[in-house]
């Protein structure tokens, strides 16, 4: 199984911004390396830029774990609508 990297934007809202979701991720998937590139948190919503690296399958599971904890996950490129 090859190593891979995923660049993602996480959006925390609807309560999950008050939960230590990233810590939970590190406990659940210790072999998925995460690198926080930037983050911003508001009153009701927070965003975080994350680079995840590890085995493909583990990355898929880690992203599903984040989603199941209420975090919206978008790829960095092509994840945001551009003007048309």
């Amino acid at each position: 199984m090859s190593k891979a990297t995923r660049k993602v934007w996480l959006t925390f809202e609807g309560g999950c911004q008050d939960e230590p979701v990233i810590w939970k991720l590190s406990q659940e998937y210790p072999n998925v390396i995460f690198d926080i590139r930037q983050a911003s948190i508001g009153k009701a919503i927070g965003i975080m830029a994350l680079e995840l690296s590890g085995k493909e399958k583990q990355l898929d599971k880690a992203i599903k774990f984040l989603q199941s904890n209420g975090v919206k996950v978008d790829p960095v490129e092509g994840g945001s609508l551009v003007e048309g």
Partner: protein, 422 residues
């Protein structure tokens, strides 16, 4: 008109957050912080060389601002784009009870009747400079129309990717130029993601994806023109539509560049945003005091600005608030009313995006966010003839009469419809 070759003042691509610099290349985001990258210029070198006179000596197109655009050689597209009218809208001003009102009218832009001709002129020129032979875009209509037209003129292969349910009129408007139209079963988000993958896999220039830093710079020319056409000064208030978030930060950047170069006085220009009620993530964030917006699923007649997750939305909020501005939203009926008002008072027919901008400007005036005695510019970005279906059923069919003067007198002059016999 032949333009003299000039040196480029472009320095690099720069991350908006960390300031990390990159060479001039097709690139969307910074590898370090994942923020959008932006073109950086050598403003020091421009001092004394980029002047009112040097600009006025240029062609009557957006390329008169070439020194402030990210191209290296001569323009390869859009030689007649830009330089649209700035209309002193006295009749509309009287209706709204304001002192000084202008309409920057990109419904008259060449060749595709929307502000998109500005960004596409720069993007296509850049695509040719980079050596691409195929260009494309993800579009809600106006962009596809413009890309198809400019690419046809430049002799490039063109793919335009659109949501499958695009209005029939817009489909015809882009197809006539001969691009490969790709209709995608999904919403705009799906179209955009696919475009990102296509750009990587096929090495094509997708103007609003991998050429985005260059493409967006073209929007500055809308702001440059406002300033120059106003007699080298800035309006106190500028109201702009917000879709993906290109034009508002770039008009703001244009004003700041002109101030920095000493071409206009710094009057602390205020920038306001306009969105449709059915797609207003930016207005909602500003009204709720949030710096981060929540993406929305669009539901509005203003389809050309129906982007629920704006790529540069964060910077729109920042620029509006830093300038002391605000944002408003308009309902579909308010958008229609504003389209009619602009047509009735100034003879300008805009699409729902323009109706949204005017309707929001009216709300900002009524709420006191825009004082009635200060100069205001409302930016109209598209032409109403491209979205005629929106105005269908808005007007009663005129009665048909026989070609007889008696019937004209009775039915038309005296208003007796029952007398119409044809």
């Amino acid at each position: 008109m032949e333009m003299e070759p000039a040196m480029s003042y472009v320095k690099s691509l720069k991350s908006r957050e960390s300031g990390q610099e990159y060479p001039i290349e097709p690139r969307t985001v910074c590898d370090i912080d994942f923020s959008p990258v932006e073109v950086a210029y050598d403003y020091k070198a421009m001092q004394g060389n980029v002047t009112r006179q040097s600009i006025e000596a240029g062609p009557l197109s957006l390329w008169r601002y070439k020194d402030l655009l990210p191209i290296e050689g001569e323009p390869k597209a859009g030689l007649h784009s830009g330089w649209t009218p700035l209309v002193k809208a006295d009749k509309l001003a009287a209706e709204l009870g304001v002192k000084e009102l202008y309409i920057k009218d990109d419904s008259a832009n060449y060749p595709s009747f929307s502000y998109k001709d500005r960004v596409v002129s720069v993007a296509i020129t850049k695509a040719i400079e980079f050596g691409f032979d195929t260009v494309g875009c993800a579009s809600t209509g106006n962009l596809a129309h413009s890309v198809a037209a400019h690419a046809a003129a430049a002799g490039l292969h063109t793919f335009v990717m659109v949501p499958h349910d695009l209005e029939a009129g817009k489909m015809v408007g882009m197809s006539v130029f001969g691009p490969k139209v790709v209709r995608i079963a999904g919403n705009y988000d799906d179209v955009n993601r696919l475009c990102s993958q296509i750009a990587d896999k096929y090495n094509w220039a997708i103007v609003n994806v991998n050429l985005r830093p260059f493409y967006t710079e073209g929007a500055k020319t809308h702001g440059f023109e406002i300033a120059e056409q106003l007699g080298w000064k800035l309006p106190q208030h500028t109201v702009l539509p917000v879709a993906g978030g290109t034009i508002l930060p770039k008009v703001n950047k244009a004003y700041k560049e002109f101030i920095r170069l000493g071409l206009v006085d710094d009057n602390s220009p205020v920038i306001h945003g306009a969105q449709a009620q059915g797609c207003n993530p930016i207005t909602t964030a500003i009204e709720e005091g949030e710096e981060i917006f929540r993406p929305q699923k669009p539901k509005t007649i203003a389809k050309s600005i129906a982007i629920g997750n704006p790529a540069d939305g964060y910077y729109v909020i920042k620029d509006i608030l830093n300038s002391g501005g605000w944002a408003a939203s308009a309902t579909d009926p308010e958008i229609i009313d504003a389209i009619k008002l602009l047509a009735r008072t100034q003879g300008i027919f805009t699409e729902p995006a323009g109706g949204t901008t005017l309707a929001c400007a009216i709300k900002l005036i009524q709420s006191g966010k825009i004082p009635k005695d200060e100069s205001i510019c409302v930016c109209i970005t598209g032409n109403g003839l491209k979205t005629l279906e929106v105005m269908e059923n808005q007007f009663q069919a005129a009665p048909v009469i026989k070609a007889k003067i008696k019937e004209f007198d009775e039915v038309i002059v005296q208003g007796n419809n029952a007398a119409a016999t044809a």
